[in-house]
Symmetry: D2
């Protein structure tokens, strides 16, 4: 896609949402990326560093409009961080014009148009659903390399799938599974909503969308593809933190203890971003903050014959922008850790 | 225990821990209580309002030592909020001397000395275990009324049991149950521990003691007594909030949807502190902050044939000091809501 | 205004903002108040306990519209917690109809129409400005008792004035004064604004409106009236907490150490809500959370010849709803602490 | 100190405190640094990544003891992040043995042994005080380059001095100055103290050490050296955030408005880590989180004839470890931004 060592021209559409600025934070330090176009409906024509002072001296571009024709002229690759529904049409026009797209919306994650319609409404360009590749490198690395369009996974599904996929492949997801997930607030975006105000979230904690969240069918689709034969019950909760998703997952194994150590070692030994904690201290949110890592821990409870799987990711990192950059690295043929190797910010 | 309308003389031993000051906060406004003795190892001989300025003009006593003989002379009732292990011997001496005791430690919650020994070590006064009444009024109201010694339930068990007991009684706890619980930090007490420092807890979240927490056998004991026939897997997590426990519980019902509305209505219709949310917005921590309430919500997931039960309590309120005052009210024969009717602090 | 012991009928207009629900929290437990009418633009026709589950069983009314004619028929006293500008006209109509009003907006705090116009725009009913009494009982108790219209002070001015008024009266505010104030987010109200989102406020801290905040002229007006002869520089900051204002104030005294202990003792010895900390541990936010208290501390720095005055209030308590209820208590002739004596929620 | 491009061998003594791990986070990615020795009293003989899982795969060394002889054999440069008092002797032995030292304790910041003694007690090696260079590159760059021993500035002084030094040099600090500073909790270190527990800091805010904090004389020393002729009153406050110091400073200029824009432009135009905000949106904590930046803003208040200067730093970055690495870069002759160019973590 670019001569060895040459820079690829990159556009970020929807650059001022939380996912957008995380992309900027990561791409600004990417040795093979030149940011050529940033768009923002809300802040058009303003320098992005005016909106986000922390970008002063780091990204010095003015925000423009996401015109597909302009994007196609100025960029080889586009990251689309636009609202669900709005993304699909823009993505389709970009792909038509030969721009490779990593879409961070939910618009191309579900393969089945009927399932999409049930959760999001009629899809505007259903034909593209079949072509889009689900951008979780740990599951679909080879297809990602050659895809024109990558559907970047949802934040919750990333945490759930990295924990459960090895069990699905081993045929161990044969009884109803529970995914009890807890997310920081940036997962809900930067829209001005009363229920995301500081005084509503602070010192509070609550489940929402119990069994009815849109990330449920996305988790189910990928687990089914990996070999699961049982339904997932997905229950998200809102944590009073800015970043991070911790998922505690419960898997019944009537047949007795599965070889958890072995299964995870085999699945992830060569993965640069999966950190295995095994029976040690369980994963915690802060160890992945600001990174593209996923920490995975597990326990076997002999009394109830259940495996407890715990994963921690940064919802803006491995759960969104970090993962998207990892996919870009696959396209560029550079090490997957390029621009993704900064340690977590602790404390 | 006291003439009608007369004040009962009350001692609080361990008055400067988080449970202790919550007791003071509540008892200071109790119309039938006279605080006659407060003890604190750490701050002995200092006015309690020096240690906690918010008590200025509210509780103006000097902190003393927990000498059983002195307590017996000056108090009719003692709340013991001492560390586990230390509490048992003091409690035994107080009971011997005719003081009625509500013990907020874990020392008298487990009935079986063998189970106690496995989790806490040898019990110093095992004979008293049989006499102590588990102080959850919604389950044991009548025994509490006449008890000499009430073992105030643990915070996690309170939230779990109020959610699960109606199902246990209906014979619905026949398959392994999951209690995924999330607690604020005051549950860990006010000891100076590195892992409770602000910078360790803030912007963090993690499970701990997966399947190995001491509150697990307590939950199991009470569920078994209520009719459960399956094991509970208890997994606590540490939330970056000061107060509150939210428990999300998963119950398989192979036989299909149980009559949840009816079960909870029947169990709690007359309970002054249980708020039923049913299928409405799920319970949240803040609605119970500073109160003795327990909010209970439920959902049925037809696909996975699981009931999701959610409860929210304040771990210092219904999970500790509030519940203890509720027990005192049973002893005094006053309305259970006496001194416990302040609305939650929202936001 | 009501026979002894009889209930006064009270309306709360704008009942679902943060100030509104704090009024409900306090008034629900007021022995002389009957809540007869609650209004909310946003949630009209819904039970208030649907919007705020914590009010279940505490306030069970349906939200209506703030029609002055209806209010006049159903209420003796109205608390108006409406947006600035919108409040003035409603207040004028209520006063005309004989309803006594405690207005929690900024519309009647400034006496001089020209000053009001400079900061808020033309006043819709300037004639009423002269009649309104500034509702800070510690400064204007007697005028409040007989007022038809009380302008409840701003949150920042309350904290600043309680700290500085004794110095102003003593003629000690003769050189430029600095008020460096830090407020929790509820001071900004419950409107859906991006800069009040959790992820914008959390782990952040910043000054705003340096020397240009609308509460500056309000502080100046009252200090001038108390005897100040120098300008105040008011600099607010946004704290990542839900409730509370801590003000650190710097007063130059070229003449040397003023008799601070004596001045504060004299000013506040009989005040039920002012807690003097003097040279002890300085005031902290949490000791006043949920209360109508103001903690006041002071230090003298001999080297720079400056007094440092520190006050802490709850911006929703003494800074808004609590103070309004204190004024109501003056009207009712009941002890000022009625319904305002709950201890702070610590921790 | 090392051939061009070759790695310098670096020891970090006290590697598991908050300053220590921030050093590891930064040095692990420094292209000219090889970490050869890490010490920790508390966790000796454990791999550092066991204590801090986020360092897995980033720093894989085992923690040792801070033996000067060993350090001298294995390292060219030592960062000492030991407690005050304990540091001085170790530092002296290292310097004696030819190790260049950047000391992050307070032991060598004050030049005058008498001043040191007043605030910290008798100095164990007073002779070294004269040699140590105060490691604020923006004030002492050239002396740092050749120093054997750099005394890394305190966190509060860094924020205050970067804001005030340009005014001191211009002769504008001629009247008593106020530094009202607000710090996150990591400034207090990782010791297990009750007043640093989550439940003590969360939802709280308070001043401490008013006019009596040890960083006061440090600020005064450097301002005096820069030309100040008036005393500073330093008032720190504890913020419920993990990282960051925001300082709001008040400077009286009886002569009228000083040329602030010009003074700051002149002082900092070439500085890589000072970001000038001037009259724009004031600095905020989050824009510097995780960085070595200092954002500086200013306002002139004509009414009170006072300049308001605001600075924001990360107390662990520019206020500690970042600044130390900046000094190392001066020693190495590499660009000062080496290993210090990661954007802030926002949100």
């Amino acid at each position: 896609m670019a001569g060895e060592g040459a820079a690829v021209r990159v556009a970020v559409l929807g650059a001022t949402g939380y996912t957008g600025i995380e992309l900027l934070r990561l791409l600004a330090r990417h040795p093979r990326v030149r940011l050529t176009l940033l768009s923002s409906e809300q802040y058009r024509d303003r320098p992005v560093a005016d909106v986000y002072p922390f970008l002063t001296g780091i990204v010095d571009r003015v925000l423009g409009a996401p015109e597909p024709a302009v994007v196609a002229r100025e960029a080889d690759v586009a990251f689309t961080a636009l609202p669900h529904g709005a993304a699909a049409r823009v993505v389709a026009q970009l792909v038509d014009r030969g721009v490779r797209v990593i879409d961070l919306s939910a618009d191309f994650r579900l393969h089945d148009p009927a399932v999409y319609a049930r959760w999001y409404g009629e899809h505007p360009v259903p034909a593209l659903l079949a072509e889009a590749v689900y951008g979780l490198p740990e599951l679909h690395r080879e297809e990602i390399r050659t895809a024109r369009l990558v559907a970047n996974p949802g934040c919750y599904p990333t945490g759930a799938l990295l924990g459960l996929a090895p069990l699905a492949r081993a045929g161990l997801l044969a009884e109803p599974i529970v995914v009890d997930a807890k997310s920081g607030t940036t997962g809900a975006g930067r829209g001005a909503k009363v229920d995301q105000l500081f005084a509503e979230v602070n010192e509070n904690f609550r489940p929402y969308g119990i069994g009815e969240h849109r990330h449920g069918p996305e988790i189910q689709q990928e687990l089914d593809a990996a070999g699961a034969t049982a339904p997932v019950l997905f229950v998200p909760h809102l944590l009073p933190v800015s970043r991070g998703i911790l998922s505690t997952m419960y898997v019944r194994c009537a047949a007795g203890r599965p070889p958890l150590d072995e299964l995870y070692e085999r699945a992830y030994a060569a993965e640069p971003f999966v950190v295995l904690r095994g029976g040690g201290p369980p994963p915690e949110l802060r160890e992945v903050r600001g990174t593209n890592r996923c920490a995975v821990g597990w326990r076997w409870d002999a009394t109830s014959r259940q495996a407890v799987i715990v994963t921690a990711i940064d919802n803006l990192g491995k759960g969104a922008a970090g993962q998207a950059v990892q996919c870009l690295n696959l396209w560029l043929g550079v090490p997957e850790t390029t621009a993704l190797d900064a340690p977590a910010l602790v404390p």
